[in-house]
């Protein structure tokens, strides 16, 4: 069905950014516009979600050019679910950044760039054209370069160089893949590609092209062996920025992989095995990396890598139940990972450091905040009935059905290491007494009340969302099941775009 308003979430953030540019250097006005814009964006996204949920896939032909000739935007259930999650995360981060960021960074355009980034994310989820997807990827990485270097500290620049080099490499692979795809099929529309690709004589070339996409999206979503840019760059920018990156950017890679490998390339045995091997190695390296880190944000960065492997494994098994698990994990992961980095930011305000060896005694001083954080940590680990637990059931179930016992083992190992490092972190940061001869630099205690609220509220919002996902798992499972069905059987998608 055609609906001309599906790009509304993109436009909300675009106009928020433009209005903020008009108020250049007026940081207080920008803060209000940012929070207000994100709230409007969230409402618009929820409206879009309920519409897609009731009426099925919506499409929009940009400039009124019919598909497959023009650029088409498609809102299916996977897209709108991610748009809603991104909006929730953006809302929380924009509240957090209005108090958790130095004025210096705001003066140089933090808020407009943040909204351009969110605009790019929404666009990437909604587009139905593979070259347009690339363009939105570029919007995302250019905004993220700026966010990462804003402030210009030496460590930040060092992290940004690694980040930029790897992401440009990823884009190059992605673009090369698109070029070959266009060369052999003559179309860029993903729905059109999905059946033109079957008529290509040279199926070997198609297989090789799909490897370009695996490498491109693999780098972006920090999959083994090209994940190392993530842990070496995500601990450098301010926590609000790291939360956006950690929660959302790697997940765009997973989204693109889900989309491309369900719609265009149907994974054959070779691709499935390749993805499975990558998933296993990603989980293992992420877990081992997390074990030895003492800086909280570095630890979280490795956990991101580790958990990307869970979703990759779901894609690799490529069946309805496995994809349900992957999609559910994606939903859970966006909420939790964003929150983890916000928590790291709160801890930094409370103690002035993020090194676990120098931290301690938080539970004694701030029991309520600690309990809120504990809730999020439990969700991450996957204590039933919280959100991290449910997707793993589906992954286990499918891995047993397909006799992937090694993956089951690795999945258990990854979950166990997650539990171990989180327990270690909890005992070191919250239970242990403050180490001797460490000076505490508590900025939080001296803040005004509204600042304290603004700092903890986003953690609360995301924790509530996580709790909702965990306790209301039945409806999330239903949505994941519908998404997985749409991913396996792409006919409704193709029909919505191209007609019959």
């Amino acid at each position: 069905m055609i609906d001309n308003h599906i790009l509304a979430p993109v436009f909300v953030h675009l106009f928020a950014a433009i209005v903020q540019l008009i108020f250049w250097r007026k940081t207080i006005t920008q803060r209000f516009i940012s929070v207000g814009g994100s709230l409007i964006g969230l409402l618009v996204a929820m409206r879009l979600f309920s519409k897609v949920h009731q009426e099925g896939i919506l499409t929009m032909n940009a400039s009124d050019w019919d598909a497959p000739f023009g650029i088409v935007f498609v809102a299916d259930l996977l897209s709108v679910t991610l748009v809603v999650l991104t909006s929730i995360a953006a809302f929380a981060v924009s509240i957090f950044s209005s108090v958790g960021l130095s004025r210096q960074r705001m003066l140089y355009g933090y808020f407009p760039i943040f909204h351009f980034l969110i605009m790019g994310l929404h666009g990437a989820f909604l587009t139905g054209d593979i070259f347009n997807l690339y363009v939105y990827f570029e919007v995302i990485i250019i905004s993220s370069f700026v966010l990462m270097t804003l402030g210009g500290r030496k460590a930040q620049l060092e992290g940004a160089v690694k980040y930029m080099a790897m992401n440009i490499l990823a884009s190059t692979f992605f673009l090369t893949g698109i070029g070959i795809l266009y060369g052999i099929t003559g179309t860029l529309n993903m729905a059109d590609l999905s059946f033109k690709i079957k008529d290509v004589q040279n199926q070997t070339l198609v297989g090789i092209t799909s490897c370009f996409f695996i490498i491109g999206f693999g780098i972006k979503s920090a999959v083994f062996p090209l994940y190392y840019w993530l842990p070496s760059s995500y601990h450098t920018p301010p926590s609000a920025v790291a939360a956006t990156f950690g929660g959302l950017l790697t997940k765009v890679g997973i989204y693109a992989m889900l989309r491309v490998f369900s719609l265009i390339f149907i994974p054959d045995d070779f691709i499935c095995t390749l993805l499975m091997v990558l998933a296993v190695l990603t989980i293992l390296t992420g877990a081992f990396g997390a074990l030895i880190k003492t800086n909280i944000r570095r630890l979280f960065s490795y956990l991101i890598v580790c958990h990307i492997g869970f979703m990759m494994g779901g894609i690799a098994m490529f069946s309805k139940i496995a994809l349900m698990g992957a999609v559910f994990y994606l939903i859970h992961d966006i909420m939790v990972k964003t929150n983890m980095f916000l928590i790291a930011g709160v801890i930094r305000q409370l103690r002035g450091t993020m090194d676990m060896e120098k931290l301690g005694g938080l539970y004694k001083e701030y029991p309520k905040i600690s309990l809120l954080i504990a809730l999020v940590l439990f969700s991450l680990v996957g204590i039933p009935p919280l959100s991290g637990f449910w997707p793993k059931i589906f992954l286990f179930q499918e891995a047993f059905t397909q006799h992937q016992y090694f993956f089951v083992g690795v999945l258990i190992f990854g979950s166990f290491i997650t539990l171990f490092v989180i327990a270690k972190m909890w005992s070191k940061v919250f239970w242990k007494d403050v180490p001797e001869n460490v000076e505490i630099e508590d900025k939080f205690a001296s803040m005004e009340l509204y600042r304290k609220i603004m700092m903890v509220l986003p953690v609360g919002i995301l924790a509530a969302a996580t709790l909702y996902i965990g306790l209301n798992a039945e409806s999330i499972v239903k949505i994941s099941e519908q998404i997985a069905t749409q991913l396996i059987d792409t006919r409704p998608y193709v029909e919505a775009v191209l007609g019959n």
């Binding site: 001309n4 308003h5 436009f11 433009i18 540019l21 008009i22 940009a62 400039s63």
Partner: protein
């Protein structure tokens, strides 16, 4: 740079180049040209002027900071993108006036998109170049 020839020439070139950039902007819908090239030519006009007369004097001609052109241009472009939605059409659809306007020709929402691009390009190029040249 003190050169009588350059100073005199740039005084005459500024309006001519600006006029040329407008010409490029307007013909851009069907022929080579458009907002991006037009904007570059226009900003070159100002850059040439700043070479001859110094950046401070060029800033005086401009009156406003070039930075403020960026949100204005982006706003015009973005509005021209969403304007068709009010008429119930998909975003970015070209809306055209019925009758052509003398000299300019047909006017449609695509022209406003190009004008937005034109302003953004001028804003960005001049902001970058003036920031560099004022620092030394």
């Amino acid at each position: 740079m003190k050169s009588a020839i350059l100073q005199t020439a740039s005084r005459y070139l500024l309006p001519i180049l600006l006029l040329f950039s407008f010409f490029l902007l307007l013909r851009g819908h069907y022929y080579p040209g458009g907002g991006f090239v037009g904007g570059l030519v226009a900003s070159i006009a100002f850059v040439l002027h700043s070479f001859a007369h110094g950046t401070e004097n060029t800033m005086k001609i401009l009156r406003y900071k070039p930075l403020s052109l960026i949100p204005i241009g982006l706003g015009i472009s973005a509005l021209s993108v969403v304007a068709p939605m009010i008429a119930g059409l998909p975003p970015m659809t070209g809306l055209w006036f019925e009758e052509p306007i003398p000299v300019i020709g047909m006017i449609g929402s695509a022209l406003f998109f190009d004008i937005g691009v034109y302003l953004v390009v001028i804003g960005v190029v001049l902001t970058i170049l003036f920031t560099i040249s004022l620092n030394d």
